[in-house]
Symmetry: C2
Subunit: 296 residues, 2 copies
Amino acid sequence: MLFGALEAGGTKMCCAIGDETGKILERMTIPTTTPAETMPPMIDFFKGKGIQALGIATFGPVDVVKGSPTYGRILNTPKIPWQFFDIVTPFEKALNVPVGLDTDVNGSCLGEVTYGTAKGLNCVLYLTIGTGIGAGVLANGRLLHGMLHPEAGHVKLKISPKDPAGSVCPFHDDCMEGLASGPSIEKRWGASAKELADRPEVWELESDYIAQALMNYIYTLSPQRIILGGGVMHQEQLFPMIREKVLAYNNGYYDTPQLKDIDHYIVPASLNDDQGLMGAIRLGELALTEVRPEIL
Amino acid sequence: MLFGALEAGGTKMCCAIGDETGKILERMTIPTTTPAETMPPMIDFFKGKGIQALGIATFGPVDVVKGSPTYGRILNTPKIPWQFFDIVTPFEKALNVPVGLDTDVNGSCLGEVTYGTAKGLNCVLYLTIGTGIGAGVLANGRLLHGMLHPEAGHVKLKISPKDPAGSVCPFHDDCMEGLASGPSIEKRWGASAKELADRPEVWELESDYIAQALMNYIYTLSPQRIILGGGVMHQEQLFPMIREKVLAYNNGYYDTPQLKDIDHYIVPASLNDDQGLMGAIRLGELALTEVRPEIL
Protein backbone atom coordinates (compact mmCIF):
# COMPACT_ATOMS: atom_id res chain seq x y z
CA MET A 1 0.00 0.00 0.00
CA LEU A 2 1.35 3.44 -0.88
CA PHE A 3 1.26 6.60 1.22
CA GLY A 4 2.26 10.17 0.58
CA ALA A 5 4.48 11.81 3.19
CA LEU A 6 5.28 15.48 3.70
CA GLU A 7 7.80 16.77 6.20
CA ALA A 8 7.07 20.48 6.10
CA GLY A 9 9.89 22.67 7.37
CA GLY A 10 10.39 26.39 7.53
CA THR A 11 13.28 26.14 5.04
CA LYS A 12 12.36 23.18 2.85
CA MET A 13 9.52 20.82 2.08
CA CYS A 14 10.40 17.12 1.83
CA CYS A 15 7.85 15.04 -0.04
CA ALA A 16 7.97 11.27 -0.42
CA ILE A 17 6.05 8.23 -1.51
CA GLY A 18 6.45 5.30 0.85
CA ASP A 19 4.91 1.99 1.80
CA GLU A 20 3.61 0.61 5.09
CA THR A 21 7.05 -0.77 6.01
CA GLY A 22 8.38 2.79 6.05
CA LYS A 23 10.37 2.28 2.85
CA ILE A 24 10.74 5.50 0.87
CA LEU A 25 10.32 4.81 -2.85
CA GLU A 26 10.58 8.30 -4.27
CA ARG A 27 11.31 11.74 -2.87
CA MET A 28 11.36 15.41 -3.81
CA THR A 29 12.59 18.45 -1.87
CA ILE A 30 11.69 22.06 -2.65
CA PRO A 31 12.35 25.32 -0.79
CA THR A 32 9.61 26.72 1.45
CA THR A 33 8.68 30.12 0.05
CA THR A 34 4.97 31.03 0.02
CA PRO A 35 1.91 28.76 -0.01
CA ALA A 36 1.03 30.06 -3.51
CA GLU A 37 4.42 28.97 -4.85
CA THR A 38 5.11 25.92 -2.72
CA MET A 39 1.76 24.10 -2.59
CA PRO A 40 1.12 23.40 -6.33
CA PRO A 41 4.36 21.47 -7.06
CA MET A 42 3.80 19.36 -3.93
CA ILE A 43 0.26 18.52 -5.00
CA ASP A 44 1.60 17.65 -8.45
CA PHE A 45 4.20 15.37 -6.90
CA PHE A 46 1.58 13.37 -4.97
CA LYS A 47 -0.99 13.22 -7.78
CA GLY A 48 -1.46 10.06 -9.81
CA LYS A 49 0.87 7.98 -7.64
CA GLY A 50 -1.88 5.79 -6.22
CA ILE A 51 -1.45 6.89 -2.61
CA GLN A 52 -4.14 5.76 -0.18
CA ALA A 53 -3.57 8.60 2.28
CA LEU A 54 -1.19 11.48 3.01
CA GLY A 55 0.66 12.18 6.25
CA ILE A 56 1.96 15.66 7.09
CA ALA A 57 4.52 16.35 9.81
CA THR A 58 4.85 20.11 9.88
CA PHE A 59 6.70 22.97 11.54
CA GLY A 60 4.57 24.82 14.05
CA PRO A 61 2.95 26.02 16.04
CA VAL A 62 0.09 24.23 14.31
CA ASP A 63 -3.40 23.31 15.43
CA VAL A 64 -3.44 19.50 15.50
CA VAL A 65 -6.45 19.13 17.79
CA LYS A 66 -9.20 17.52 15.74
CA GLY A 67 -12.51 19.25 16.14
CA SER A 68 -10.90 22.62 16.84
CA PRO A 69 -12.16 25.46 14.61
CA THR A 70 -8.59 26.13 13.42
CA TYR A 71 -7.60 22.46 12.95
CA GLY A 72 -4.97 22.13 10.23
CA ARG A 73 -3.76 25.71 10.40
CA ILE A 74 -0.18 26.77 10.96
CA LEU A 75 -0.55 29.26 13.80
CA ASN A 76 1.51 32.27 14.84
CA THR A 77 4.73 31.41 12.94
CA PRO A 78 7.46 33.94 12.09
CA LYS A 79 7.21 32.56 8.50
CA ILE A 80 4.65 35.26 7.70
CA PRO A 81 3.21 33.88 4.41
CA TRP A 82 2.29 30.66 6.26
CA GLN A 83 0.61 32.33 9.22
CA PHE A 84 -2.85 30.81 9.69
CA PHE A 85 -2.49 28.85 6.45
CA ASP A 86 -4.59 25.64 6.41
CA ILE A 87 -2.10 23.02 5.26
CA VAL A 88 -4.58 20.12 5.27
CA THR A 89 -7.59 21.13 3.19
CA PRO A 90 -5.79 21.89 -0.13
CA PHE A 91 -4.28 18.39 -0.13
CA GLU A 92 -7.59 16.74 0.85
CA LYS A 93 -9.38 18.54 -1.97
CA ALA A 94 -6.73 17.97 -4.65
CA LEU A 95 -5.83 14.37 -3.80
CA ASN A 96 -9.15 13.13 -2.43
CA VAL A 97 -7.52 10.93 0.23
CA PRO A 98 -7.52 11.10 4.04
CA VAL A 99 -4.82 13.39 5.43
CA GLY A 100 -3.10 12.82 8.79
CA LEU A 101 -1.45 15.77 10.50
CA ASP A 102 0.94 16.28 13.36
CA THR A 103 3.95 18.38 14.32
CA ASP A 104 7.36 17.67 12.74
CA VAL A 105 8.71 16.43 16.06
CA ASN A 106 5.68 14.25 16.82
CA GLY A 107 6.22 12.87 13.30
CA SER A 108 9.85 12.06 14.10
CA CYS A 109 8.80 10.48 17.38
CA LEU A 110 6.26 8.34 15.54
CA GLY A 111 8.87 7.35 12.95
CA GLU A 112 11.21 6.10 15.67
CA VAL A 113 8.36 4.33 17.49
CA THR A 114 7.09 2.62 14.33
CA TYR A 115 10.32 1.79 12.51
CA GLY A 116 13.27 2.77 14.70
CA THR A 117 14.88 2.67 18.10
CA ALA A 118 11.67 3.07 20.12
CA LYS A 119 9.72 0.22 18.53
CA GLY A 120 7.32 -1.39 20.99
CA LEU A 121 7.48 1.37 23.61
CA ASN A 122 4.45 3.42 24.61
CA CYS A 123 5.97 6.47 26.34
CA VAL A 124 8.76 8.11 24.37
CA LEU A 125 10.33 11.56 24.10
CA TYR A 126 11.91 12.67 20.82
CA LEU A 127 13.89 15.88 21.05
CA THR A 128 15.37 17.71 18.09
CA ILE A 129 18.18 20.17 18.77
CA GLY A 130 19.02 22.23 15.72
CA THR A 131 17.91 25.62 14.45
CA GLY A 132 15.14 25.30 17.00
CA ILE A 133 14.49 22.86 19.80
CA GLY A 134 11.28 20.88 19.86
CA ALA A 135 9.89 17.73 21.42
CA GLY A 136 7.58 15.03 20.17
CA VAL A 137 5.94 12.93 22.84
CA LEU A 138 4.29 9.54 22.70
CA ALA A 139 2.22 9.06 25.86
CA ASN A 140 0.19 5.94 26.51
CA GLY A 141 0.77 4.82 22.94
CA ARG A 142 -0.45 8.01 21.24
CA LEU A 143 1.19 11.23 20.17
CA LEU A 144 0.55 13.90 22.77
CA HIS A 145 -1.37 17.05 21.90
CA GLY A 146 -3.20 18.23 25.00
CA MET A 147 -4.31 21.83 24.65
CA LEU A 148 -2.08 22.33 21.55
CA HIS A 149 1.15 20.29 21.43
CA PRO A 150 4.25 20.25 23.59
CA GLU A 151 6.66 23.17 23.15
CA ALA A 152 9.28 21.57 25.34
CA GLY A 153 12.15 23.44 23.71
CA HIS A 154 11.08 26.45 25.75
CA VAL A 155 11.47 25.04 29.26
CA LYS A 156 13.37 27.26 31.70
CA LEU A 157 16.98 26.42 32.48
CA LYS A 158 19.51 27.70 34.96
CA ILE A 159 21.96 29.87 33.03
CA SER A 160 25.55 28.89 33.72
CA PRO A 161 27.64 31.64 35.35
CA LYS A 162 30.22 30.85 32.62
CA ASP A 163 27.74 31.83 29.91
CA PRO A 164 27.58 35.55 29.26
CA ALA A 165 25.93 35.28 25.83
CA GLY A 166 22.32 35.21 26.89
CA SER A 167 19.32 33.81 25.10
CA VAL A 168 18.50 34.00 21.38
CA CYS A 169 14.79 33.34 22.05
CA PRO A 170 12.71 36.48 21.52
CA PHE A 171 10.22 35.32 24.19
CA HIS A 172 12.34 33.90 27.00
CA ASP A 173 15.64 34.97 28.53
CA ASP A 174 16.44 31.55 29.98
CA CYS A 175 14.77 28.87 27.86
CA MET A 176 16.45 25.85 26.32
CA GLU A 177 15.97 26.98 22.71
CA GLY A 178 17.39 30.37 23.65
CA LEU A 179 20.47 28.84 25.28
CA ALA A 180 21.20 25.54 23.53
CA SER A 181 19.93 25.70 19.91
CA GLY A 182 22.30 25.92 16.95
CA PRO A 183 21.90 29.73 16.65
CA SER A 184 22.62 30.19 20.36
CA ILE A 185 25.86 28.19 19.97
CA GLU A 186 26.82 30.39 17.01
CA LYS A 187 26.04 33.57 18.91
CA ARG A 188 28.02 32.47 21.97
CA TRP A 189 31.13 31.10 20.27
CA GLY A 190 31.10 32.89 16.92
CA ALA A 191 31.10 29.71 14.85
CA SER A 192 28.76 26.84 13.97
CA ALA A 193 28.50 23.61 15.99
CA LYS A 194 30.39 21.73 13.26
CA GLU A 195 33.34 24.15 13.35
CA LEU A 196 33.49 23.91 17.14
CA ALA A 197 33.69 20.11 17.29
CA ASP A 198 37.13 20.07 18.98
CA ARG A 199 36.40 22.75 21.60
CA PRO A 200 35.51 20.82 24.79
CA GLU A 201 34.24 23.93 26.65
CA VAL A 202 31.49 24.29 24.02
CA TRP A 203 30.18 20.78 24.66
CA GLU A 204 30.64 20.97 28.40
CA LEU A 205 28.17 23.88 28.52
CA GLU A 206 25.88 22.48 25.81
CA SER A 207 25.59 19.07 27.49
CA ASP A 208 24.79 20.75 30.81
CA TYR A 209 21.89 22.69 29.31
CA ILE A 210 20.57 19.58 27.58
CA ALA A 211 20.93 17.48 30.76
CA GLN A 212 19.02 20.07 32.82
CA ALA A 213 16.11 19.88 30.39
CA LEU A 214 16.19 16.08 30.14
CA MET A 215 16.13 15.77 33.93
CA ASN A 216 12.92 17.80 34.00
CA TYR A 217 11.37 15.84 31.12
CA ILE A 218 12.23 12.56 32.86
CA TYR A 219 10.58 13.62 36.12
CA THR A 220 7.53 15.04 34.32
CA LEU A 221 6.88 12.46 31.58
CA SER A 222 8.69 9.36 32.82
CA PRO A 223 9.53 8.32 29.24
CA GLN A 224 10.77 4.79 28.59
CA ARG A 225 13.36 6.13 26.15
CA ILE A 226 14.69 9.54 25.07
CA ILE A 227 15.81 10.04 21.48
CA LEU A 228 17.96 13.03 20.57
CA GLY A 229 18.04 14.17 16.95
CA GLY A 230 18.71 17.33 14.96
CA GLY A 231 21.87 18.98 13.64
CA VAL A 232 23.50 19.78 16.98
CA MET A 233 23.18 16.13 18.05
CA HIS A 234 25.36 15.07 15.13
CA GLN A 235 28.13 16.05 17.59
CA GLU A 236 28.22 12.54 19.01
CA GLN A 237 30.64 13.46 21.78
CA LEU A 238 27.59 15.03 23.47
CA PHE A 239 25.92 11.72 24.30
CA PRO A 240 28.25 10.43 27.05
CA MET A 241 28.48 13.94 28.54
CA ILE A 242 24.68 14.32 28.65
CA ARG A 243 24.21 10.84 30.16
CA GLU A 244 26.77 11.51 32.88
CA LYS A 245 25.22 14.85 33.81
CA VAL A 246 21.66 13.45 33.91
CA LEU A 247 22.80 10.77 36.35
CA ALA A 248 24.58 13.42 38.44
CA TYR A 249 21.46 15.63 38.54
CA ASN A 250 19.25 12.66 39.39
CA ASN A 251 21.62 11.79 42.24
CA GLY A 252 20.12 8.35 42.69
CA TYR A 253 16.57 9.62 43.23
CA TYR A 254 14.71 8.07 40.31
CA ASP A 255 15.71 4.45 40.61
CA THR A 256 14.70 2.53 37.47
CA PRO A 257 16.27 -0.20 35.33
CA GLN A 258 16.27 2.22 32.37
CA LEU A 259 18.45 4.80 34.17
CA LYS A 260 20.82 2.03 35.26
CA ASP A 261 21.29 1.26 31.55
CA ILE A 262 21.49 4.87 30.45
CA ASP A 263 23.45 4.14 27.24
CA HIS A 264 20.25 2.55 25.94
CA TYR A 265 17.99 5.15 27.54
CA ILE A 266 19.31 8.39 26.04
CA VAL A 267 20.04 7.48 22.44
CA PRO A 268 20.58 9.08 19.01
CA ALA A 269 17.91 9.05 16.34
CA SER A 270 18.21 5.84 14.36
CA LEU A 271 16.69 6.48 10.94
CA ASN A 272 19.37 8.55 9.15
CA ASP A 273 17.43 11.79 9.46
CA ASP A 274 14.44 10.18 7.70
CA GLN A 275 12.55 9.80 11.01
CA GLY A 276 10.25 12.75 10.20
CA LEU A 277 9.43 11.58 6.71
CA MET A 278 8.93 7.98 7.83
CA GLY A 279 6.72 9.23 10.66
CA ALA A 280 4.69 11.11 8.05
CA ILE A 281 4.18 7.85 6.14
CA ARG A 282 2.79 6.33 9.34
CA LEU A 283 0.61 9.43 9.94
CA GLY A 284 -0.90 8.73 6.53
CA GLU A 285 -1.50 5.09 7.40
CA LEU A 286 -3.10 6.09 10.72
CA ALA A 287 -5.36 8.61 8.96
CA LEU A 288 -6.79 5.67 7.02
CA THR A 289 -7.57 3.54 10.03
CA GLU A 290 -7.48 5.39 13.28
CA VAL A 291 -10.28 6.80 15.31
CA ARG A 292 -8.41 9.30 17.43
CA PRO A 293 -10.51 10.13 20.49
CA GLU A 294 -9.47 13.58 21.65
CA ILE A 295 -11.92 13.32 24.50
CA LEU A 296 -11.78 10.56 27.10
CA MET B 1 -22.39 -1.24 42.46
CA LEU B 2 -20.00 -0.98 45.42
CA PHE B 3 -16.26 -0.49 45.36
CA GLY B 4 -13.58 -0.42 48.03
CA ALA B 5 -11.18 2.53 47.96
CA LEU B 6 -7.87 2.93 49.75
CA GLU B 7 -5.87 6.14 49.76
CA ALA B 8 -2.60 4.93 51.26
CA GLY B 9 -0.45 7.67 52.76
CA GLY B 10 2.79 7.66 54.68
CA THR B 11 0.97 8.98 57.77
CA LYS B 12 -2.53 7.56 57.50
CA MET B 13 -4.58 5.07 55.55
CA CYS B 14 -8.01 6.23 54.38
CA CYS B 15 -10.40 3.42 53.51
CA ALA B 16 -13.85 3.87 52.05
CA ILE B 17 -16.77 2.12 50.46
CA GLY B 18 -18.20 4.02 47.50
CA ASP B 19 -20.41 3.62 44.50
CA GLU B 20 -19.86 4.26 40.79
CA THR B 21 -21.05 7.87 41.12
CA GLY B 22 -18.10 8.54 43.45
CA LYS B 23 -20.33 8.78 46.50
CA ILE B 24 -18.58 7.71 49.69
CA LEU B 25 -20.92 5.66 51.88
CA GLU B 26 -18.61 4.70 54.71
CA ARG B 27 -15.07 5.50 55.70
CA MET B 28 -12.33 4.58 58.17
CA THR B 29 -8.93 6.14 58.80
CA ILE B 30 -6.07 4.48 60.65
CA PRO B 31 -2.43 5.47 61.18
CA THR B 32 0.21 3.99 58.90
CA THR B 33 2.58 2.01 61.11
CA THR B 34 3.83 -1.34 59.77
CA PRO B 35 2.24 -3.67 57.21
CA ALA B 36 1.78 -6.30 59.93
CA GLU B 37 -0.24 -3.87 62.07
CA THR B 38 -1.93 -1.81 59.37
CA MET B 39 -3.03 -4.37 56.78
CA PRO B 40 -5.36 -6.63 58.87
CA PRO B 41 -7.80 -3.91 60.03
CA MET B 42 -8.03 -2.57 56.46
CA ILE B 43 -8.82 -6.03 55.13
CA ASP B 44 -11.42 -6.42 57.89
CA PHE B 45 -12.97 -3.09 56.91
CA PHE B 46 -13.44 -4.13 53.28
CA LYS B 47 -14.61 -7.71 54.03
CA GLY B 48 -18.26 -8.65 53.77
CA LYS B 49 -19.31 -5.29 52.31
CA GLY B 50 -20.15 -6.69 48.87
CA ILE B 51 -17.51 -4.71 46.99
CA GLN B 52 -16.95 -5.71 43.36
CA ALA B 53 -13.39 -4.43 43.20
CA LEU B 54 -10.85 -2.42 45.19
CA GLY B 55 -8.90 0.62 44.05
CA ILE B 56 -5.65 1.66 45.74
CA ALA B 57 -4.07 5.10 45.34
CA THR B 58 -0.83 4.88 47.26
CA PHE B 59 2.22 6.87 48.31
CA GLY B 60 5.29 5.95 46.35
CA PRO B 61 7.51 5.37 44.67
CA VAL B 62 5.49 2.31 43.69
CA ASP B 63 5.69 -0.02 40.73
CA VAL B 64 2.43 0.52 38.84
CA VAL B 65 3.62 -0.93 35.52
CA LYS B 66 1.58 -4.08 34.91
CA GLY B 67 3.69 -7.01 33.84
CA SER B 68 6.74 -5.72 35.73
CA PRO B 69 8.25 -8.32 38.12
CA THR B 70 7.82 -5.89 41.02
CA TYR B 71 4.29 -4.73 40.10
CA GLY B 72 2.35 -3.71 43.19
CA ARG B 73 5.37 -3.12 45.39
CA ILE B 74 6.11 0.10 47.22
CA LEU B 75 9.69 0.80 46.16
CA ASN B 76 12.52 2.64 47.87
CA THR B 77 10.47 4.64 50.40
CA PRO B 78 11.88 6.24 53.56
CA LYS B 79 8.97 4.49 55.39
CA ILE B 80 11.26 1.50 56.04
CA PRO B 81 8.64 -1.13 57.08
CA TRP B 82 6.89 -0.57 53.74
CA GLN B 83 9.98 -0.84 51.53
CA PHE B 84 9.31 -3.39 48.79
CA PHE B 85 6.00 -4.37 50.39
CA ASP B 86 3.48 -5.74 47.87
CA ILE B 87 0.33 -3.77 48.65
CA VAL B 88 -1.86 -5.50 46.04
CA THR B 89 -1.60 -9.25 46.59
CA PRO B 90 -2.78 -9.40 50.25
CA PHE B 91 -6.01 -7.59 49.29
CA GLU B 92 -6.53 -9.75 46.20
CA LYS B 93 -6.12 -12.92 48.26
CA ALA B 94 -8.23 -11.84 51.22
CA LEU B 95 -11.06 -10.15 49.31
CA ASN B 96 -11.05 -12.18 46.10
CA VAL B 97 -11.86 -9.16 43.89
CA PRO B 98 -9.87 -7.36 41.18
CA VAL B 99 -7.56 -4.67 42.57
CA GLY B 100 -6.63 -1.50 40.68
CA LEU B 101 -3.48 0.35 41.65
CA ASP B 102 -1.94 3.72 40.97
CA THR B 103 -0.05 6.49 42.73
CA ASP B 104 -1.85 8.77 45.19
CA VAL B 105 -1.49 11.72 42.82
CA ASN B 106 -2.63 9.79 39.77
CA GLY B 107 -5.59 8.75 41.93
CA SER B 108 -6.38 12.38 42.72
CA CYS B 109 -6.04 13.28 39.06
CA LEU B 110 -8.45 10.50 38.14
CA GLY B 111 -10.88 11.66 40.83
CA GLU B 112 -10.95 15.17 39.38
CA VAL B 113 -11.25 13.81 35.82
CA THR B 114 -14.10 11.44 36.69
CA TYR B 115 -16.11 13.48 39.19
CA GLY B 116 -14.55 16.93 39.46
CA THR B 117 -13.22 19.99 37.73
CA ALA B 118 -11.48 18.13 34.88
CA LYS B 119 -14.47 16.07 33.74
CA GLY B 120 -14.34 15.40 30.00
CA LEU B 121 -10.72 16.41 29.49
CA ASN B 122 -8.08 13.98 28.28
CA CYS B 123 -4.80 15.71 29.21
CA VAL B 124 -4.69 16.95 32.79
CA LEU B 125 -2.04 17.69 35.39
CA TYR B 126 -2.87 17.33 39.08
CA LEU B 127 -0.23 18.69 41.43
CA THR B 128 -0.26 18.30 45.19
CA ILE B 129 1.82 20.72 47.23
CA GLY B 130 2.01 19.68 50.86
CA THR B 131 4.48 17.64 52.90
CA GLY B 132 5.79 16.52 49.53
CA ILE B 133 5.12 17.65 45.98
CA GLY B 134 3.85 15.17 43.42
CA ALA B 135 2.06 15.15 40.11
CA GLY B 136 -0.58 12.93 38.61
CA VAL B 137 -0.90 13.09 34.86
CA LEU B 138 -3.69 12.08 32.54
CA ALA B 139 -2.31 11.87 28.99
CA ASN B 140 -4.43 10.88 26.03
CA GLY B 141 -7.21 9.79 28.38
CA ARG B 142 -5.11 7.50 30.57
CA LEU B 143 -3.04 7.94 33.69
CA LEU B 144 0.60 8.26 32.75
CA HIS B 145 3.15 5.75 33.98
CA GLY B 146 5.91 5.47 31.40
CA MET B 147 9.00 3.85 32.86
CA LEU B 148 7.64 4.21 36.42
CA HIS B 149 5.41 7.22 37.10
CA PRO B 150 6.02 10.96 37.02
CA GLU B 151 8.03 12.42 39.90
CA ALA B 152 7.38 15.96 38.79
CA GLY B 153 7.81 17.42 42.26
CA HIS B 154 11.54 17.06 41.72
CA VAL B 155 11.99 19.28 38.65
CA LYS B 156 14.84 21.77 38.87
CA LEU B 157 14.01 25.40 39.65
CA LYS B 158 16.01 28.59 39.67
CA ILE B 159 16.63 29.49 43.32
CA SER B 160 15.65 33.06 44.09
CA PRO B 161 18.55 35.27 45.24
CA LYS B 162 16.21 36.31 48.08
CA ASP B 163 16.05 32.73 49.34
CA PRO B 164 18.98 31.76 51.55
CA ALA B 165 17.30 28.73 53.11
CA GLY B 166 18.22 26.10 50.55
CA SER B 167 16.53 22.85 49.73
CA VAL B 168 15.00 20.33 52.13
CA CYS B 169 15.22 17.52 49.54
CA PRO B 170 17.95 15.02 50.44
CA PHE B 171 18.57 14.32 46.72
CA HIS B 172 18.43 17.71 45.00
CA ASP B 173 19.67 21.15 46.00
CA ASP B 174 17.31 23.02 43.67
CA CYS B 175 14.18 20.92 43.12
CA MET B 176 10.61 22.05 43.62
CA GLU B 177 9.90 19.75 46.56
CA GLY B 178 13.10 20.96 48.18
CA LEU B 179 12.16 24.62 47.75
CA ALA B 180 8.37 24.86 47.78
CA SER B 181 6.93 22.01 49.90
CA GLY B 182 5.38 22.59 53.33
CA PRO B 183 8.57 21.56 55.18
CA SER B 184 10.67 23.93 53.05
CA ILE B 185 8.35 26.82 53.93
CA GLU B 186 8.68 25.92 57.61
CA LYS B 187 12.46 25.71 57.38
CA ARG B 188 12.72 29.05 55.57
CA TRP B 189 10.30 31.12 57.67
CA GLY B 190 10.24 29.22 60.97
CA ALA B 191 6.48 28.69 60.92
CA SER B 192 3.88 26.63 59.08
CA ALA B 193 2.11 27.82 55.94
CA LYS B 194 -1.09 28.40 57.94
CA GLU B 195 0.66 30.65 60.47
CA LEU B 196 2.26 32.67 57.65
CA ALA B 197 -0.98 33.46 55.80
CA ASP B 198 -0.62 37.24 56.23
CA ARG B 199 3.07 37.49 55.24
CA PRO B 200 3.06 38.53 51.55
CA GLU B 201 6.81 37.87 51.06
CA VAL B 202 6.19 34.19 51.84
CA TRP B 203 3.64 33.84 49.05
CA GLU B 204 5.56 36.01 46.63
CA LEU B 205 8.44 33.54 46.73
CA GLU B 206 6.23 30.44 46.93
CA SER B 207 4.13 31.48 43.92
CA ASP B 208 7.29 32.15 41.91
CA TYR B 209 8.62 28.65 42.54
CA ILE B 210 5.26 27.11 41.67
CA ALA B 211 4.94 29.23 38.51
CA GLN B 212 8.41 28.22 37.31
CA ALA B 213 7.46 24.56 37.60
CA LEU B 214 4.03 25.05 36.00
CA MET B 215 5.61 26.85 33.04
CA ASN B 216 7.82 23.82 32.41
CA TYR B 217 4.93 21.37 32.82
CA ILE B 218 2.83 23.41 30.39
CA TYR B 219 5.53 23.41 27.71
CA THR B 220 6.27 19.70 28.24
CA LEU B 221 2.80 18.18 28.70
CA SER B 222 0.49 20.77 27.18
CA PRO B 223 -2.25 19.93 29.71
CA GLN B 224 -5.78 21.17 29.10
CA ARG B 225 -6.13 22.07 32.79
CA ILE B 226 -3.88 22.21 35.84
CA ILE B 227 -5.32 21.38 39.25
CA LEU B 228 -3.45 22.39 42.38
CA GLY B 229 -4.23 20.54 45.60
CA GLY B 230 -2.55 19.75 48.91
CA GLY B 231 -2.16 21.60 52.20
CA VAL B 232 -0.08 24.52 50.94
CA MET B 233 -2.67 25.26 48.24
CA HIS B 234 -5.28 25.89 50.94
CA GLN B 235 -3.61 29.33 50.93
CA GLU B 236 -5.97 30.59 48.26
CA GLN B 237 -4.14 33.89 47.84
CA LEU B 238 -1.57 31.84 45.89
CA PHE B 239 -3.82 31.26 42.88
CA PRO B 240 -3.91 34.77 41.38
CA MET B 241 -0.18 35.20 42.09
CA ILE B 242 0.69 31.92 40.35
CA ARG B 243 -1.51 32.71 37.34
CA GLU B 244 0.05 36.14 36.91
CA LYS B 245 3.59 34.78 37.10
CA VAL B 246 2.88 31.95 34.63
CA LEU B 247 1.60 34.49 32.12
CA ALA B 248 4.67 36.65 32.71
CA TYR B 249 7.04 33.71 32.19
CA ASN B 250 5.16 32.61 29.07
CA ASN B 251 5.49 36.16 27.72
CA GLY B 252 2.90 35.55 24.99
CA TYR B 253 4.74 32.57 23.48
CA TYR B 254 2.23 29.77 23.99
CA ASP B 255 -0.90 31.28 22.52
CA THR B 256 -3.95 29.18 23.40
CA PRO B 257 -7.55 29.88 24.42
CA GLN B 258 -6.87 28.12 27.74
CA LEU B 259 -4.06 30.50 28.73
CA LYS B 260 -6.23 33.47 27.74
CA ASP B 261 -8.76 32.20 30.30
CA ILE B 262 -6.20 31.34 32.95
CA ASP B 263 -8.64 31.61 35.89
CA HIS B 264 -10.23 28.43 34.53
CA TYR B 265 -6.91 26.88 33.51
CA ILE B 266 -5.01 26.85 36.81
CA VAL B 267 -7.61 25.86 39.36
CA PRO B 268 -7.97 24.47 42.89
CA ALA B 269 -8.94 20.87 43.55
CA SER B 270 -12.72 20.62 43.60
CA LEU B 271 -13.61 17.58 45.68
CA ASN B 272 -13.03 18.74 49.28
CA ASP B 273 -9.82 16.74 49.65
CA ASP B 274 -11.69 13.55 48.73
CA GLN B 275 -10.19 13.55 45.21
CA GLY B 276 -7.72 10.76 46.11
CA LEU B 277 -10.32 8.53 47.70
CA MET B 278 -12.83 9.15 44.91
CA GLY B 279 -10.11 8.42 42.37
CA ALA B 280 -9.47 5.14 44.19
CA ILE B 281 -13.15 4.25 43.77
CA ARG B 282 -12.74 4.79 40.04
CA LEU B 283 -9.50 2.76 40.03
CA GLY B 284 -11.55 -0.09 41.45
CA GLU B 285 -14.21 0.33 38.79
CA LEU B 286 -11.54 0.40 36.05
CA ALA B 287 -9.92 -2.75 37.45
CA LEU B 288 -13.23 -4.51 36.78
CA THR B 289 -13.50 -3.43 33.19
CA GLU B 290 -10.33 -2.04 31.74
CA VAL B 291 -7.74 -3.74 29.63
CA ARG B 292 -4.81 -1.42 30.18
CA PRO B 293 -2.32 -1.91 27.38
CA GLU B 294 1.09 -0.94 28.72
CA ILE B 295 2.62 -1.65 25.34
CA LEU B 296 1.45 0.01 22.15
